[in-house]
């Protein structure tokens, strides 16, 4: 660190504004960046992922598509192969089923199949998550599915600053990057929001390295490894338990691929207790991989059984109380932390 290094200026922004800012800055910087998807133009993105961009960059670069995800993701792939840097939006992760082939058999595999001779520098953005009664086909996270399939990076920001920094890094990455934003972290005016969805965001160029977790809160008693909206919940729980003498460390994964296993292990090595909180489905997903990241190194780090708080292998129910019962919310997180602590 040199003496002349000044702190970067910041302002408080919502996550959605921070994400849009990164896109706009990269579009200014590089004419080969463009954004493609349903209702990303005049509407500005159903979850405000592109607000104001059409006005600024015009319909040649902020492009509304037909409802043809397979065709327009493929279009992104081909354009990336030819050296452009497309950002392609699938409105909800839930819709991956109509276009997964382009994603995992093409976007994710062309570089490998070509022995590294063809690059696919594109970003695939998707909104995820529930909590507002959108039902079983519009509330899923599914990031575990993308992370399971090799060849694409997967990032899942929880804060405004990371939303900006990871978007910048994703656009500049020469690999395909899946960028999943939870609707609940965006700071949308029409959805209940955690105060953490508005926060300081660095001005100007801001990158966050893909593949590095962030210790969102240091603590010594128990490690909560989590991501996306659940980071906000976990921090709330940590703050509420602090006065009771339970010191929770919260690790925000930020990236699933690559997964920062060192950060997970380092934290658990310190606390000996692990709670994983994930809004995706429980089995065969993120929560087990986090546990295995520890046991791969040393199962004796776990002084007590790890707690996995996730959606218990049930489609997301519509009715508010049912949905809130299956989501990993404050009550379940707190119970898990207490169980891990034996109090």
């Amino acid at each position: 660190m040199t003496i002349t290094e000044a702190p970067q200026a910041t302002r408080r922004l919502t996550t959605s504004k921070a994400m849009v800012e990164a896109i706009a800055q990269e579009m200014e910087r590089d004419p080969s960046v463009f954004y493609l998807g349903e209702d990303v133009g005049a509407y500005g993105g159903i979850f405000s992922s592109t607000t104001g961009l059409l006005e600024r960059f015009g319909p040649q670069r902020i492009i509304d598509t037909p409802i043809s995800e397979t065709a327009f993701i493929g279009l992104g792939i081909g354009a990336a192969v030819e050296g452009m840097r497309p950002i392609v939006e699938v409105m909800f992760t839930d819709f991956m089923g109509v276009c997964l082939d382009q994603i995992y058999n093409h976007m994710a595999k062309i570089h490998f199949e070509s022995g590294g001779n063809v690059k696919v520098p594109m970003v695939l953005t998707m909104a995820a998550g529930g909590g507002y009664s959108d039902g079983a086909q519009h509330s899923q996270c599914l990031w575990g599915t993308f992370a399971h399939l090799p060849g694409m990076k997967v990032v899942v920001p929880s804060t405004p600053a990371d939303a900006k920094g990871l978007m910048t890094s994703a656009i500049r990455d020469d690999n395909p990057v899946v960028y999943i934003f939870h609707k609940g972290v965006m700071g949308l005016p029409w959805m209940v929001k955690n105060p953490r969805s508005i926060d300081e965001v660095p001005d100007g160029e801001h990158t966050v390295p893909i593949g590095e977790a962030r210790v969102a809160r240091e603590g010594s008693d128990v490690t909560v490894v989590t991501l996306s909206l659940s980071v906000h919940h976990a921090l709330d729980v940590a703050e509420s338990l602090a006065p009771q003498g339970i010191d929770v460390e919260v690790v925000d994964l930020r990236s699933l691929v690559p997964l920062d296993r060192d950060a997970i292990v380092a934290s658990v090595a310190k606390t000996g207790r692990l709670v994983v909180v994930d809004e995706d489905y429980l089995s065969f997903g993120v929560s087990a991989e986090v546990v295995a990241s520890v046991t791969d190194r040393d199962p004796t780090l776990l002084r007590v059984p790890p707690q996995r708080i996730a959606v218990p292998d049930v489609p997301i129910p519509y009715a508010h109380d049912l949905e809130h019962a299956v989501l990993p919310r404050h009550d379940r997180i707190e119970r898990a932390v207490r169980t891990a602590m034996g109090r």
Binding site: E38, Y43, I67, H320
Partner: protein, 347 residues
């Protein structure tokens, strides 16, 4: 059309372009009024408790809400030819079709309210209405409601019945892969399906002309060797086109495609400010219900009394359903993981 949907039974008659008989016309009108009354009630209940501001997850009816005001001619005109033995598959915007097909209004409303008495015990919600009694279903994934309809038609065909399946999507959905695959397969296997496209000019904020280079999805029928027809948002035109398509399907001659150039009077979903919309000026004028009322008044089918009666009947039924929903039990969170699997197996 079932007795649930309208109190009059409708004789199946009339030739191409012929004016249907008075009882049919009255029935079509009453179905449209019932459907509109239903949507107005849901609109009211939906917004009743979203504040302060607008929180989509709050209130008696949380979540996304896609209402069908203006599209009643499609539902009334098509479902008039069906019985509840026939299947109807709808989209994220399903209420008008459910109402016209005779889905139990109480159970449907209870589902929209997320109650234990709902069609899906509150698990499904407004985009996931499944009613085995009327073979009604929907899907929130664009165009992906078509393929299961093929299977219902297949089962009906294999059992030697003349039952049919009606599958509905929006014009935006006609650019999805599932649309193409479904029409091709149904055509090749001569499945008894009537494919209906509701062209309301918009797929959320994207105008239909920005999404496809062709003027009418009915032209796509030729790509599968089946009849295709496009009609305007006039319930008798829909009724007429549907009559031919339904007859063809029942006769074992295979599927048809009907596109209705209809009207989305309200936002894509509730909360949609429609800033993108360039065609709002004459929406009230284009409302198909007063227009049809006018026609029927002129023809002597409707008068003040009959209009009032249709509205009162609709109101009574809708408010009864809303009251039923409102007073039904909320599902017990302890049961949140139930119904993933059924215990049953064939013995």
């Amino acid at each position: 059309m079932t007795t649930e949907a309208a109190s009059t039974s409708i004789p199946q008659q009339s030739r191409r372009g012929e004016v249907p008989e008075a009882a049919v016309r009255l029935g079509l009108y009453r179905t449209m009024v019932l459907s509109r009354t239903y949507e107005e009630a849901i609109l009211r209940e939906y917004h009743a408790d979203k504040g302060p501001g607008f929180d989509i997850g709050k209130g008696l009816v949380p979540g996304e809400m896609h209402l069908s005001a203006g599209q009643e001619p499609v539902a009334a005109g098509v479902c008039a030819h069906l019985t509840t033995d026939d299947a109807v598959t709808a989209t994220h915007r399903p209420h008008h079709l459910a109402v016209a097909h005779g889905v139990d209004l109480r159970k449907m409303t209870a589902e929209i309210f997320g109650r234990e008495t709902g069609l899906g015990r509150g698990r499904g919600g407004h985009m996931h209405l499944f009613d085995p009694a009327t073979h009604f279903s929907c899907s929130g994934i664009i165009a992906e409601g078509y393929p299961p309809a093929l299977g219902q038609a297949f089962a009906f065909q294999r059992r030697g019945t003349d039952r049919i399946a009606v599958a509905v999507t929006g014009e935006g959905a006609a650019n999805q892969g599932a649309f193409h695959e479904s029409l091709n397969l149904a055509a090749r296997w001569s499945l008894p399906v009537v494919f209906v496209v509701e062209d309301n000019d918009w797929g959320i904020s994207v105008p239909r002309d920005a999404a496809t280079a062709i003027g009418s999805n009915a032209d796509r029928a030729a790509a599968y060797g089946i009849p295709g027809e496009r009609v305007e948002n006039d319930v008798e035109a829909v009724y007429d086109a549907a009559r031919r398509a339904v007859a063809r399907a029942r006769a074992g001659d295979g599927p048809s495609l009907i596109e209705v150039h209809t009207l989305r009077m309200w936002g894509h979903f509730e909360g949609d400010a429609q800033g993108y919309r360039t065609d709002l000026a004459d929406v009230a004028e284009r409302d198909p219900i007063p227009r049809y009322e006018e026609v029927l008044r002129k023809a002597g089918v409707l008068d003040d009394e009959k209009v009032a009666q249709a509205k009162a009947d609709a109101s009574r039924r809708v408010e009864d359903a809303v009251e039923f929903a409102r007073s039904s039990a909320i599902p017990d969170p302890a049961d949140a993981t139930a119904y993933v699997f059924t215990e049953g197996a064939l013995r």
